[in-house]
């Protein structure tokens, strides 16, 4: 089918270009790894997070930061395509319209997975000791891929609305900061009132709690369901908005 064939071709194009610029994956690994190392070493002894080791506690939040860092390349890539003449070439051809965006999204998922796996590897090296079994890891992968899709479509919107590639690249920074106002780095109960309310109700908290429960063999509660609903909802909304903006821009 045309959509699948075109999306696959665009995916390969985006993957080729991002593998040619390995620094984009590099920063997506390096920055979260530094944050993890700093937090683990600096705060590891003073942070009281109950029965957990602090490094074990922060790994899920660090992974979400990795995703936030890894999607900036998608925002920049989409923006580049829109600014340069190549979009006009694609538009003048009888090909699937969404494939331009889908190609960026699929290659972003691959970049995200590479960065996340390496960051988890670094976490091991500095003392992360998960107790997840094989099935737990499969669920973790599923939850993360769905989350990556959601965040990538948000990044695509950033890429579509930004005036320059530079601003497209800085917009997803908010997604890097948000895990700090979630259950990612300190227990929500310790937060001031307004922050606590935000942290309890923002989507990153159930996702982080799900990852943590699966990694450290704790009860899941309704967090898994909540994270899936959040991610699916964000995908549906962000996808619709992105496609609409794309259509408005190109017609």
């Amino acid at each position: 089918m045309q959509v699948i064939s075109n999306s696959y071709t665009m995916f390969k194009r985006c993957l080729t270009t991002s593998l040619r610029n390995p620094e984009t994956i590099g920063t997506a690994i390096f920055i979260p790894a530094i944050v993890m190392w700093l937090f683990g070493i600096l705060f590891g002894n003073v942070m009281d997070v109950g029965d957990y080791n602090y490094i074990d506690f922060i790994v899920p939040g660090i992974i979400l930061q990795t995703v936030a860092q890894a999607v900036t390349a998608a925002a920049i890539g989409v923006n580049n395509d829109m600014q340069k003449g190549i979009i006009d070439r694609f538009r003048s051809m009888d090909i699937s319209k969404s494939s331009v965006l889908t190609g960026h999204v699929l290659s972003a998922i691959v970049r995200n997975m590479i960065a996340t796996i390496v960051v988890i590897g670094v976490a091991f090296a500095i003392g992360f000791r998960p107790q997840a079994g094989f099935l737990d890891w499969l669920i973790i992968a599923g939850v993360l891929i769905l989350y990556m899709l959601a965040i990538t479509w948000i990044a695509v919107i950033c890429g579509l609305i930004a005036k320059t590639p530079e601003s497209a690249g800085t917009m997803p920074f908010l997604l890097f900061v948000l895990p700090y106002i979630s259950s990612g780095f300190v227990p929500v109960e310790t937060m001031p009132k307004a922050l606590k309310w935000f942290a309890e109700n923002q989507p990153m908290t159930p996702i982080i709690d799900t990852l943590r429960a699966l990694m450290l063999n704790q009860p899941l509660g309704n967090n898994l369901l909540l994270s899936l609903v959040w991610s699916a909802g964000i995908i549906a909304v962000a996808f619709t908005i992105a496609v609409q903006i794309y259509k408005n821009k190109t017609s």
């Binding site: 071709t9 194009r13 080729t16 006009d88 070439r89 003048s92 051809m93 009888d94 090909i95």
Partner: protein, 264 residues
Amino acid sequence: MENIISVSNLKKSFKNLEVLKGVSFDIKKGSIFALLGSNGAGKTTAVRILATLSKPNSGSAAICGYDVVKQADEVRGCISLTGQFAAVDESLTGRENLQLIGKLRRLPNTNQRADELLAAFDLEDSAKRLAKTYSGGMRRRLDIAMSLMGSEKERQVIFLDEPTTGLDPQNRIAMWEMVKNLATDGATVFLTTQYLEEAEYLADKIAILHEGKIIAEGTLDELRKIYPPAKKEYVEIQPTLEEIFLKIVGCDVPGAPQSAKESE
């Protein structure tokens, strides 16, 4: 021969700026059509409307029998566009750029066609280099090659917006031969150009766009009849297209600015 492009009373404005004020013309299948006009005359605007990238405010245009607004996808299936500014992926090599277009259009023999085009556009030696390392002229040639990376059907109508700007004389002549061959093979070529000798050499039909309207249209000979040769005492000098052009757009002494003349 039938008309493969027919444009009728096309109007387009950007905010308050009226660029096309009712443009009409027909192009015969298999011919080479050249649209001439000064900078800012609206040539690119016209090409973008015909290539479905932009919508007219009013009027209509049909290509291969399809309406460019209502049947944009069908039109896209029978045209190839080389815009005024290079549309290549800088982070891919020359060959990969060609393959990308071939794959998107699902050409059966992508690799073979890519090789042919690399040879035809003198890009074989740089096929494996990233397009961002190309010179301006090489990029332009790759750009044109990319738009020819399609099936016969997708090359029925070929738009070339200033195809030879930035090419050296050698490559320009090679480009001219290429365009002639495309038309010989049955394609219809729509080109815009700043080089009047290019239109003179290539075009079966020439249209001059000035202040939003087509102010002259026809073969070179027809244009010559409207603006007859200057009668000298013994020799008759055929006007070049350049002279005809400058006369029509109202700047009859080349090189002498109007204001300088008036103040004399």
